[in-house]
Each structure stands twice: as structure tokens, then as C-alpha cells.
Amino acid sequence: MSNAPAPFRAQLVRSAIDVSSSTSWLGDPGCGAVLVFCGNVREKNRDQVVTKIEYQAYESMALAQLNQVVRSLVDQGAQRAMAIHRLGMLEVGETSVLLGISLPHRKVGFRLLEEGMEQIKKMVPIWKHEHYRDANPVWIDGS
């Protein structure tokens, strides 16, 4: 049995996502491509000015589902895969989610990264409560 660390990692965090250390972890001598997607809090949505977003999760299941997403990306050819989702209150511009993969070539990587984000948005029980400058906060319905 190999003692090598798992090639995938999933985390829920309550402080700023460290993009730099995530990118370092993804690095691999056999990989010419490291692709990292960061989702940031946007200042406009539904014609409203967003001031902040609170993320709430069903934590045990969200972590299990995130793990399933990154495991699936490795099964499909990524050498390494990492997903981090932040919880709690975030200001505009802060990173709420990071999904990164490394693999030998970029083309498959772009497809896998998109698929992984779609899975996160459909299958991971996390919800955003958007706060607006000119209206009451709203729970956003996604998938």
C-alpha cells in the first residue's frame, strides 16, 4: 500500500482562502498545466448593489460532496485536485470558492475545471444569503 498523500483535497474554511499555497500544493513535476478558478463576491446581482454575502453550509455533507467532486476530477485525469469553499460573511471582492487542478496538458483541464464547478454548484449543500445596499437580504436559490 502506498503512503503517498491523497491527490485530492477538500476544505471548508472560515477565513480567507490562500490562493498561493493552494496553487503550490497543486504543482507537480509531471504537470504542465495548473488551472485554478476563484469565485469572488460580485458587487452587483439581480439589479441590486451587493454589500456582502453570508455562506451557510450543511457542513458534514458539503465536505463529503466537495471530496466527491475532487475525487471525480482525479478519476477523470487530473493529477491533483483541490476544492475550498469559504463560509460565513464575505465582503465584495473576497474569494468564496477555489477549485484547482493540475495535469499534463491544459485542454482536458479546462473542461474538467468547468465540470467540477458545475458539480459544486449543483451538488454541494451551501447557500448564499445576499445582503444589498437598498433591500433586505435574500437567500439565493440555485440548482
Binding site: Y58, S60, A64, S96, W127, H129, G142
Partner: protein
């Protein structure tokens, strides 16, 4: 049997609680659970129609049984990312 169902997001706000208690038949399925929630908590009915049920951290199908002692959660449409 009586089961507890965890609530999140809009459902939690509507119920003003992070969980509800639901009375169910011993051989109830997930579909039965959804009907029972709507009947016993009419305030949640509209949102229940849009929600999925998780049993022990996994999304379930409507015909799945509800094992005694399992952790149940009502999952409204997710919006992470």
C-alpha cells in the same frame, strides 16, 4: 416514529429553527417524509416542493426508505460557489 429533520437557509428562516420534528409511519419513504413535512408544517410547503432530502449526508431518491436513527436534512436549491 418521530424523526428530526435539519433545516438550512430559507427553510431555517421560515421555521425559525434549525430543525423540525416530524411524525412518520415506521415504513416511511423519502416521499412520505416530504408529504408529512408539508402537512405538519404548512408554512414550509412551497419550499418543500423545491427541496431534496439528504439521508446520512447523501442525496436520496423519493422511493428510498428512512432507516431509523438516520440523520435527515431538507436541502433547498443550493447556491454555493
Amino acid at each position: 416514529m418521530k424523526v428530526e429533520v435539519l433545516l438550512f437557509a430559507s427553510l431555517r428562516d421560515l421555521a425559525q429553527s434549525d430543525r423540525i420534528s416530524v411524525e412518520l409511519a415506521e415504513d416511511a419513504t423519502v416521499a412520505d417524509l416530504l408529504i408529512s413535512i408539508s402537512t405538519q408544517y404548512p408554512l414550509l410547503e412551497d419550499r418543500v416542493a423545491l427541496s431534496r432530502v439528504a439521508v446520512n449526508d447523501r442525496f436520496s431518491r423519493s422511493e428510498d426508505p428512512i432507516p431509523s436513527g438516520s440523520e435527515l436534512a431538507l436541502i433547498p436549491p443550493v447556491s454555493g460557489g
